[in-house]
């Protein structure tokens, strides 16, 4: 296997509080190959989003955060980088898509200003005109009709789906090697979410971008990801190729998570235990036990 674009080894995160250290991540190991789309699935509070923010180097800025373990991005040890060097990676070689596109775009600047700012991360001397042209072609890539008009607009004037396309175009504008999508489009309609996800998948496949896809939505994950990590209470409980994991879930928590999805064919809201000792069973790795 070629060297991965991202690898986390035994990543631990704690927060210093008045009552001592509260551990949130208890040693997470995860790897994303080049061009691979990997999903991190779990319920809210399981540690998905903090993992993303550690990879981006955002949590390191928090004084109360205690982070240990190894994070390698494109061969470099992130923990050995300075604040400035980590910041230089963001928006250029890694970028992120957020849950709610409309509130993630700044309300007082039109789209083109924000686009320009993003493009300038790669090219400090980018002129207004060049930026505009790049932005137009990027918006065309995400199937936005009349990109010139959209660029002049403010986020509050556009629909959620339109903003989501803008976000995707922005996130991929500088051709990052890693895209982190933190529950993308959860705030959108299911249909719009599906459209924009398709679009995103096509684009990352075409550009060969690696993706860390964070979600609690198993249906979406199955469509999108090559491999899946299931996270529960700050631990990876099961990991494997998407097909294997979905056809043969082994860990009790994964089974419960899958049972929790309401079926369109009826059967009511599934009744699952809120907590179970079995959920904390040791990790099951399909790649070790079921070699491909």
């Amino acid at each position: 296997m070629s060297d991965p674009i991202l690898s986390l080894r035994d990543l631990k995160l704690g927060f210093k509080t008045y009552e001592g250290l509260v551990e949130v991540l208890h040693g997470i190991s995860l790897r994303i190959g080049r061009g691979e789309k990997v999903a991190l699935v779990g319920e809210s509070g399981s540690g998905k989003s903090v993992t993303a923010r550690i990879i981006l180097g955002l949590l390191q800025e928090l004084k109360a955060a205690r982070i240990s373990g190894a994070i390698h991005f494109d061969g470099a040890d992130l923990e050995k980088l300075s604040r400035r060097e980590r910041q230089a990676l963001r928006g250029t070689r890694m970028s992120m898509i957020f849950q709610d596109p409309t509130s993630s775009l700044n309300p007082v600047f039109p789209i083109h200003v924000q686009f320009h700012e993003v493009l300038r991360r790669m090219d400090r001397n980018l002129t207004q005109k060049q930026g505009m042209q790049r932005a137009i072609s990027l918006l065309t890539d995400v199937s936005i009709p009349e990109p010139e008009r959209v660029l002049q607009a403010y986020a509050f004037q556009l629909s959620g789906g339109m903003n989501q396309r803008v976000m995707i175009a922005m996130a991929l504008a500088n051709e990052p090697s890693l895209l982190i999508a933190d529950e993308p489009g959860t705030a959108l309609d299911v249909t719009v979410q599906a459209q924009t996800l398709h679009l995103m998948r096509d684009l990352v496949v075409r550009k060969g971008t690696s993706v860390l896809f964070i979600s609690h939505n198993l249906g979406v994950v199955r469509e999108f990801a090559d491999r899946v990590y299931v996270i529960y209470k700050g631990r990876i409980v099961e990991h494997g190729p998407t097909d294997t994991l979905f056809s043969k879930p082994l860990h009790p928590y994964t089974k419960a998570l899958m049972a929790a999805v309401p079926r369109i064919t009826g059967g009511g809201i599934p009744d699952i235990a809120e907590n179970s000792e079995a959920f904390l069973d040791p990790m099951i790795d399909h790649e070790v036990e079921v070699p491909a």
Partner: protein, 343 residues
């Protein structure tokens, strides 16, 4: 019509209605309070006949509606009547005293914006640290004491115990005052090219303007801090960080502008409050503004002068508010576009 022009037109027409309302109210109130203006003006030694004569001259025995109609028709000709206190046209009096007050309030407004907003930003960026705590205590102090108290305290501290600033007045007696052109002394000094007089006048205005602006500074700092902290929690700030924009730039550009919108509204209101507070600060610093005139005419029940003074202050208040509204529309696209989309 461009949305800004539309907004301006709307605010102006509302202002006219407000001014009409204010004029009716103050016209009535000035006449309802007890005391005979003619008797007060003529003094205790005047005969009853003289009083009747003056009442007649002033049309005080007409019905209040007729009086108001007369006032409106005079006002339309730019005539606010004669002051019984100075025996001059009220417009002349106001033209003489208003500029000094406006100058004081304007400088105080600059202090409020120039100190209040940066302190709020500083406080928000160093939330929970020493700088934040110092700013918070100071701004609370500024907000909690009225400006005439600050006027006295500052005068004692920085003009009496530590004579850094002149104790009172608008300019030193030893200097020849430059010819009156605009009535705004600082401006007149500059127009006359008299830098020494300008420096002296500027030296004089610091303490009263600072005393007047302290509660505004505190208010602006507290609000800016609260808004900045709230803005920092918004997803678009996290997005800006995730794109690696420098923290400085995020603060200056991405967090500051949305945070400024609520602060500006309050700053506009504070500006108006300062117009009222200026009366007391002017009294403390013997500032030759509208206050002495205003207090005198109210005590003497000088009807024309009361109505004129109140109207001018209301008009100033309205103008400041229109400016603030336009600024907010400029900063906040949502308002700009909301105006446009209305039928």
């Amino acid at each position: 019509m461009s949305p800004v022009v539309q907004l301006l037109a709307k605010r102006l027409s509302i202002s006219v209605i407000v001014l009409i309302g204010v004029s009716m109210l103050i016209f009535a109130i000035a006449r309802i309070i007890p005391g005979d203006p003619a008797r007060i003006a003529l003094g205790p030694n005047a005969t009853a006949e003289q009083v009747v004569q003056l009442r007649d001259k002033l049309h005080l025995d007409d019905s209040i509606i007729v009086q108001y109609a007369n006032f409106v028709s005079d006002f339309a000709r730019g005539d606010l009547g004669i002051s019984l206190y100075t025996n001059r046209p009220v417009t002349t009096d106001i033209a003489q005293f208003l500029p000094a007050t406006l100058e004081l309030v304007f400088v105080a407004g600059l202090f409020m914006i120039g100190f209040g907003i940066p302190l709020g930003i500083l406080s928000a960026r160093h939330r929970g640290k020493a700088a934040d705590n110092v700013v918070r205590v100071l701004s609370l102090l500024g907000v909690s004491a009225p400006s005439f108290v600050w006027a006295v305290i500052l005068m004692l501290l920085f003009a009496f115990f530590l004579p850094i600033f002149p104790i009172a007045g608008q300019i030193s007696d030893t200097l020849t005052v430059p010819p009156r052109m605009t009535g705004f002394l600082l401006f007149d000094c500059l127009l006359a090219g008299d830098l020494r007089a300008f420096a002296d006048a500027a030296h004089h205005i610091v303490l009263p303007a600072f005393a007047l602006s302290l509660s505004g500074i505190g208010q602006a700092a507290r609000l800016t801090r609260a808004n900045m902290i709230e803005t920092y929690d918004k997803p678009y700030i996290e997005m800006a960080r995730s794109y690696g924009f420098p923290e400085q730039r995020i603060a200056r550009r991405y967090a500051f502008r949305p945070s400024l919108i609520p602060s500006l509204t309050i700053i506009g209101l504070d500006f108006a409050a300062m117009l009222g507070n200026a009366f007391l600060v002017e009294a403390v610093y013997a500032w030759p503004g509208l206050s002495r005139y205003g207090v005198q005419v109210i005590l003497r029940k000088d009807l024309n002068a009361i109505v004129g003074t109140v109207l001018v202050i209301s008009a100033t208040f309205l103008v400041v508010n229109i400016i603030v509204d336009l600024l907010i529309a400029f900063i906040n696209p949502r308002i700009r576009y909301a105006e446009r989309s209305r039928p």
